[in-house]
Subunit: 213 residues, 2 copies
Amino acid sequence: MLTLYGMSSSGNCYKPRLLLAKLGRPFRHVEVNAMDGSTHSPEFLALNPNGKVPLLQLEDGRILAESNAMLLYLAEGTSYLPDAGFERALVYQWMFFEQYSHEPYIAVLRALKKYPERAHQATPERVAQLLDGGHKALAVMEMQLSKTRFIAGDDYSVADIALYAYTQDAAFAGYDMTRFPHITAWLERVATHGGHVPMEWLPEGSAALSPGD
Amino acid sequence: MLTLYGMSSSGNCYKPRLLLAKLGRPFRHVEVNAMDGSTHSPEFLALNPNGKVPLLQLEDGRILAESNAMLLYLAEGTSYLPDAGFERALVYQWMFFEQYSHEPYIAVLRALKKYPERAHQATPERVAQLLDGGHKALAVMEMQLSKTRFIAGDDYSVADIALYAYTQDAAFAGYDMTRFPHITAWLERVATHGGHVPMEWLPEGSAALSPGD
């Protein structure tokens, strides 16, 4: 069975969990707290030298890092990833957009609000910069979603999963979502798409990895 | 013929140029200066609402953004991208690592040093933060390159192109490359791999897009 190491409250960790749930593919969740040093324990660094979750371990022990790499790998051959060609290229495009132009603003501002350990970083200058970058990313998504039902075209793909993970919490993070009606409608379309599970969902039989392990 | 909009001194823009040169695929280069506002002109924003280069235009006018999406799209079916499976997943992994854990430090510090327009951002705190993040990314690469000849395995792939673009300038940017002998050897392996062209190389017949166009 696949093993997914992740922090359940992290959007990046939610991405492969959501896809595996939609695919009906059984997996084991191992909770790793990125806030208490567990991702930089010697045990975890031996699995991922980059010290980040999520981390996917295959049945044979091989390891894959990077949430969006997992999505592309797990979706191969399913309806969530088009075959080779331009439609697939657009899925790649939106997934790199997510990691470069969206996550570093929206996920970071969400973390400053969500985790007390991060609150001291929320200086007015930092918050203003994160609001500005995130609103720009949302404006790019809004323009696309005024033209297509899903982000990379008219079909649901792993690019929607990648962008849903943190966009669903953008209002909580402090972004003004009243400016983005097409995103709001898309969030609802994603949340009602077949097999959807919320971020809180975990498979049965989850375990935890603590810094002392 | 393909058209590639890009700033010739940008590592992100170099990536698809290097792959196209290696593939022997003819293309037109259109110079767009990301420093003088050209990427935020109405003409350019109509092509890419995210206001970034590089931007790839196909023969039929369709547009693709994100350098690493271009690499994956253009490499499909060639020796630079493994077929579906775990080897391909590792290529994805290193390309997302590049955009999230490498480029935001190494490319940014390089830009502060290279472009006079950016020099005022080089405060001691910012430089220290960029050095720290970049050295961490380089340490992750060094560990991998102590085990494999190329970054995603023993074969050259588009993940090498993605990481070469800015790593080749890491010493110029201020990173201590004497700490990374395996990276230094890999830089040489990439630079001597068949069909390699340096960043300065441009195809014949290049044009330019200026803010007033």
